[in-house]
């Protein structure tokens, strides 16, 4: 993104760079002009990269000691917890790391929703992000099966059975997924293989995600296009590096608290009971981060339609850049959207809550209303809002609101171009 071509100072550097421009890349990454008004909600990209690397590194070590066999998996996890040097630490980091990963990704996604980061010209970044999110859910689900506890086994049974809803070929697909006629050893070994594969797919997509980001550059809290580099930007290093580092450390304190003091609070007690195909747990619940989608699945009385609703709830996000018709990115200048945004946040939290409860009576009713509202938000509210909403004036640059350039604001008002 630099204005002028980068040339390494040393001769050796120049020789190497002419053949493989790694130094140009490094220079681009350090100089990368970043809006200077990014707030702390923007630090979660870096935090997520940390989460991914942590999961891969701890996962590699766990894989060295874990045995993917229906008779030995549970015991090998206990072996890791007891006999492997600091095995308990590595496993607790990996298990809680998954939850931290999702916590961070939800903040990252909702930040994007608030500031309209998915809008033109950042649609591809957003869609790659949705694919990463889908893969994360797959990896988390597959990983949860590996300890071969009761929730692992029954979770795997419930989720794989969803495929049986597909007309005609459903049953066949389920048998094919299981590698047999029930969840058993072949299922476990293939889940382990896929759980090992997916993080590297995610890593590749993260590279594309960042690459795509570096083409238009970061969105920012006021959501306007900025000149780069300019008075409105700072170089990525050291400004953003240190700020991301500070936020990451704060995040790590929370992470450490979970790992060292309440390592099992986010898991389910039943997963410390070895898998038993003959005993079904009283309530089969997924991990907390999948609960909103679980609630959507269960709120539809028909199995196939339930699966379709659940998948649509995720895939609808990919269409978001076109569903949201407003030209203004940031919710800061969209008073109505801002309100609907917070209703959506509450709606997703409610879905998560009812997802953990038995699907009956009042809970089911709430789940249905919340599910309906979820789709209503994306399919009706957002498209209409873009045309009807009276937005407030948007400043011309980042420096302007800080310096208080009110004359520009007055000029903007007269233009009347932000009514929508």
């Amino acid at each position: 993104m630099s204005e002028h071509e980068y040339v390494p100072k040393s001769k050796a550097g120049k020789w190497f760079n002419d053949r493989l421009p790694l130094l140009t890349l490094a220079n681009h990454l350090t100089d990368y002009p970043t809006p200077k008004n990014l707030n702390y909600w923007w630090t979660f990209g870096g935090i997520l990269t940390f989460c991914l690397i942590t999961q891969i590194v701890t996962g590699l070590v766990l894989a060295m000691h874990y045995i993917a066999h229906a008779d030995m998996a549970f015991g090998s996890v206990e072996h890791i917890m007891r006999d492997v040097n600091y095995g308990w630490l590595i496993r607790y980091i990996h298990a809680n790391g998954a939850s931290m990963f999702f916590l961070a990704v939800y903040i990252h996604i909702f930040r994007s929703l608030f500031y309209g980061s998915y809008k033109s010209p950042r649609e591809i970044i957003w869609i790659i992000g949705i694919i990463i999110y889908l893969l994360m859910m797959a990896a988390a689900f597959l990983g949860y099966v590996l300890p071969w506890g009761q929730m692992s086994f029954w979770g795997a049974t419930v989720i794989t059975n969803l495929f049986s809803a597909i007309p005609f070929v459903g049953e066949g697909i389920v048998t094919w997924l299981w590698g047999g006629y029930s969840v058993d050893n072949p299922t476990l070994t293939r889940f382990f293989t896929l759980h090992y594969l997916i993080p590297f797919l995610i890593l590749g997509l993260v590279v594309l995600h960042i690459w795509a980001l570096h083409v238009p550059g970061n969105n920012n809290p006021i959501g306007i296009d900025i000149k780069k580099p300019s008075k409105d930007t700072v170089p990525f290093h050291p400004y953003i590096v240190i700020k991301d580092g500070f936020a990451l450390l704060m995040f790590m304190i929370v992470f450490a608290f979970f790992v060292f003091y309440t390592p099992n609070i986010l898991g389910h007690a039943d997963n410390y009971i070895e898998a038993n195909p003959l005993v079904t747990p009283a309530h089969i619940v997924p991990e907390w981060y999948l609960l909103p989608f679980y609630a959507i699945l269960r709120s539809v009385p028909d199995k196939l339609l339930g699966v379709i609703a659940m998948l649509s709830a995720i895939l609808i996000l990919a269409a978001l850049p076109w569903l949201d018709t407003s030209k203004i990115r940031s919710a800061v200048f969209r008073p109505l959207y801002k309100q609907f945004y917070w209703i959506l946040v509450a709606d997703v939290l409610i879905l998560g809550y009812v997802g953990a409860m038995p699907a009956e009576g009042l809970y089911l009713l709430i789940a249905r209303i919340a599910t309906a509202y979820y789709f209503l938000h994306f399919l009706v509210v957002l498209p209409i809002l873009g045309f009807k909403e009276r937005t407030t004036p948007v400043p011309l640059s980042i420096t302007e609101p800080i310096l208080g350039g009110s004359s520009n604001l007055a000029a903007m008002k007269n233009k009347d171009s932000f009514k929508g």
């Binding site: 206990e78 007891r82 630490l89 400004y239 500070f246 304190i253 007690a269 009971i273 946040v345």
Partner: protein
Amino acid sequence: MKKFSRILFLTILFIGFQFSSIAAEKVEYLKTDWSFKGPFGKFDRAALQRGYQVYQEVCSSCHSMKYLSYRNLVEKGGPEFSVEQAKAIAASFEVKDGPNADGEMFMRPGRLSDKFVMPYENEKAAQAANGGAYPPDMTVLVKARGGGVDYIYSLLQGYEDPPPVGVSLDDGVYYNKYMYGNKIKMSNQLSDGLVEYSDGTNASVEQMAKDVSTFLMWTAEPHLETRHRMGFKAIVYLIILTVLVYFSMKRIWSRVKTEV
């Protein structure tokens, strides 16, 4: 800041919901002060040794402890029996070994490296001996129950005989306040003075329940003390580093006319 407080508010509301619903669903467990709770919590060595005695004399005739070895009894952070004591404990059990040079399986006294001897040959034998109910393995039992150690502690003291009016029980089923559905296939195991503690502690039901629950907490989380100690150091280190990085950040950003 306004946004942040709103998120915080929603999160608290959400967590509050969760806890209130959990509280409404379950009975209150009996309370006692556990030495291992809290960021500096450690096991009470004497309680662990007594707890082992209760497990050995009362529970182990039905409940296995398959992920524990006799050597674990010596390890730091556990009951910390002396090596001689643990060797004697191990040697008091007969372990099946082999095959020997003649291809025969044979019995020998246990060693530190052996896993705890199982009370039954297999799960079916355990069920047959217990009216169809399988006595669960106890190694990670504390972590495998929603209420954790409080649940085990309460369950051991939760029997009511005769059961409350209107509750009819089949043969071999007992009433327990804390059991899921209140019906349990294990009879009341503890009675005052059931074991004779070698350290002279009065073996009341409450005392034995507490000791054996402590022991089970340790079998489930053998590295709990290391975890607590390391956690404190890690978090203090992170906080110091965070403060240093915060001031570096302020300094670096002071070159730019913007808030950070």
